[in-house]
């Protein structure tokens, strides 16, 4: 057990997997000698060689399609998109080839697609995306979105061990800002939600970086007891944990950093509306990024993303309902 940043925890998971299983390969742009745009893969090519930590051409479709090909003959490729936004270039291979493969012909694509995602770093409209909902909507893909360092390592190891393609959203804002006690060696974080703050007047449901905004908002509300539920995985979605939290708290605020329409939180809201209606003591409230690209200027970006203040205000308004 040692204290690692979220980024170091992801790097550690990759190192552990490369050391434990010779079928594991890393594919991506600038991940070798350079160590990746964010240094997640720093030192891995040196230690495991250029045949296992492979610098690719700028070919997102070939990275993911090639990974599917390697996977169906027994490898365990882990693909890095340099930024989550660039997975759009490979969308077809993800949704039509990897996602439908098992249902269609009985093969499986045990690949991991690492997506450095999210805003808060002045990345602008092409380097700040949160594309998780695209992949929740496509059959056959798992979608993981850890918020903490131990979960980042444990969920990445779970993704590598999973026989299905996993879209792994690692939040850039958390890379060096979040740290935690991370167990050494191999372990898997369950593919289920986690209550990260207890409370029974209201529950905030979030994932990824928004868990931290939700926790800060909950701390700021001294007049009520606010629970925070970290979804951790969006597919599978822990429906039982969501409905149990609504049953206990009766009031719910759902936070997405993704754009509002058809976001992960919209699915959570739909679930609660259909199956948790009788437990509710107020409207299902959503806080999300408006349906616009993420702006560059810090002041504009802060205004677009759901920060602590908007979450806190939404909670207070609902508590007063």
């Amino acid at each position: 057990m040692s204290e690692l940043t979220y980024l170091e925890a992801i790097s550690d998971a990759l190192r552990v997997a490369l050391a434990a299983d010779e079928r594991v390969l890393l594919l991506g742009e600038d991940i070798g000698a350079f160590g990746g745009a964010f240094k997640v893969t720093a030192g891995l090519q040196r230690d495991f060689g250029p045949d296992r930590v492979i610098d690719t051409p700028i070919s997102e479709e070939a990275i993911i399609g090639g990974a599917v090909g390697a996977a169906i003959v027994g490898m365990r490729p882990i693909c890095e998109m340099q930024f989550a936004d660039f997975v759009a270039c490979a969308f077809d291979q993800v949704v039509n080839v990897a996602g439908k493969l098992h249902w269609r012909i009985g093969l499986a694509a045990p690949i991991v697609i690492r997506l450095p995602c999210g805003g808060g770093v002045s990345g602008g409209p092409f380097h700040s995306g949160n594309p998780e909902a695209w992949f929740m909507h496509a059959p056959g893909l798992k979608v993981f979105a850890p918020s903490s360092a131990p979960d980042a390592k444990g969920l990445l190891l779970a993704a590598i061990a999973d026989p299905n393609p996993v879209v792994f959203l690692e939040h850039k804002f958390l890379y060096r800002r979040v740290r935690g006690e991370v167990p050494a060696g191999t372990y898997e974080t369950p593919q289920s939600a986690n209550t990260v703050r207890d409370g029974d007047d209201l529950v905030v449901i979030a994932y990824g970086a928004m868990v931290h905004a939700a926790l800060a908002a909950a701390e700021a509300i001294e007049e009520a007891s606010v629970r925070v539920l970290d979804l951790r995985t969006l597919v599978p979605l822990d429906e039982r944990a969501i409905l149990d939290a609504v049953h206990d708290c009766a009031k719910v605020v759902i936070v997405d950093e993704g754009n509002y329409t058809c976001a992960a939180g919209a699915q959570v809201a739909s679930l609660i509306a259909q199956y948790g209606f009788a437990d509710l003591d107020g409207p299902v409230v959503r806080v999300a990024t408006p349906d616009a690209p993420i702006p560059f200027a810090p002041v504009l970006e802060r205004a677009a993303l759901p920060g602590v203040q908007r979450i806190r205000d939404a909670c207070r308004e609902l508590l007063a309902y």
């Binding site: 051409p57 090639g66 090909g69 012909i105």
Partner: protein, 320 residues
């Protein structure tokens, strides 16, 4: 080739009888390319066929009954009713079924070949694609990556003149064979209606691949003698062009060649027709799929299956 044509003729008649849902797609006129190329593969070499490549499935050993049942959408079909027409694959026999987006499986074939190279295995992967698919970005990415890493892949371009209704003259300014050189990929042009010629160039491409000399693009010139599907009367094809290629029918040519060697080709025809009539009756007797849990099979549970090995009972690799 005879089996390919017999199955497709039977499938087309079942379609016209209203027994095949959707549309029906065949590879009439292109049988020599699919059969000749796949016949040159070893049992451990996976193949990614397209909709004109029924022969590739047969050479790998997928039984005709399962194929006819697949057309009919029956539970005993290759895809158990989940997909139809020539969208299927029998991965346990080394056939990785296609998706409709082209040339996606060419990229997947590069990945398989890359893994073979990294593991030092004496295997190659073969992907078919059409002239239209060479306009897609994925074609460039696959060619570039394959050339860069010199992976043991064989790319068989079925240059059949038309992408649905669009002729090659409206598809590209530079022939794909010339473009292959720009990716560092060896390319060869072959008469796609001569099964022995296709076999020979593919055999050589496989030798190159296994010797570490990298991928080969084989441009097989052929002609799609039907429309894109049964709903397409191909009225955009000049009749003289059809007549030109009808005189070069791959089955007729091989039949003449074998007859001069003393092979009883009529007996082969009769045996195949009897086999396919029996297979058709078996397929028609098969049950419809039963709708159950629609989520069944979306996710894999347990150890992920991998691509297996395949060879037809009459293949030179049978029993190896």
């Amino acid at each position: 080739m005879v089996t390919t044509r017999a199955i497709e003729e039977r499938g087309l008649s079942l379609y016209k009888q209203g027994k095949v849902p959707g549309s029906f797609y065949d590879g009439r006129g292109q049988e020599a390319t699919a059969v000749g190329a796949t016949f040159a593969l070893g049992p451990d070499d996976p193949v990614c066929p397209l909709i004109r490549d029924l022969g590739a499935h047969l050479v790998k050993g997928t039984p005709p009954t399962a194929i006819l049942a697949h057309y009919l959408g029956r539970a005993g079909g290759v895809a158990k009713g989940r997909d139809g027409n020539v969208h299927f694959g029998d991965p346990q026999r080394g056939v990785v079924g296609m998706v409709s987006m082209l040339p996606d499986m060419m990229v997947v074939a590069v990945g398989m070949a890359w893994a073979f190279k990294l593991r030092g295995e004496q295997r190659c992967a073969l992907s078919f694609f059409g002239d239209g698919a060479t306009s897609v970005g994925g074609w460039h990415e696959a060619m570039n990556l394959a050339g860069l890493h010199r992976v043991p892949a064989i790319f068989v371009l079925e240059h059949n003149g038309y992408a649905y209704s669009t002729p090659s003259s409206q598809q590209f300014a530079v022939d794909p064979v010339e473009r292959a050189a720009a990716y560092g990929i060896a390319a060869v042009t072959v008469d796609g209606n001569d099964v022995e010629a296709v076999f020979e160039v593919t055999r050589q491409a496989r030798e190159r691949a296994l010797a570490g000399e990298g991928p080969t693009l084989i441009a097989a010139h052929t002609m799609r003698m039907h429309g894109h599907g049964a709903h397409d009367d191909a009225s955009y094809v000049p009749p003289a062009l059809f007549a030109h290629w009808a005189a070069r029918d791959p089955l007729t040519r091989q039949r003449e060649r074998l007859a001069t060697l003393g092979v009883d080709v009529d007996a082969i025809d009769a045996a195949v027709r009897a086999e396919i009539e029996l297979a058709t009756a078996e397929a028609l007797a098969m049950a419809e799929p039963v709708p159950g849990d629609p989520l069944a099979g979306v996710f894999c549970e347990g150890e992920p299956p991998i691509v297996g090995r395949g060879a037809a009972p009459w293949s030179r690799f049978a029993g190896t």
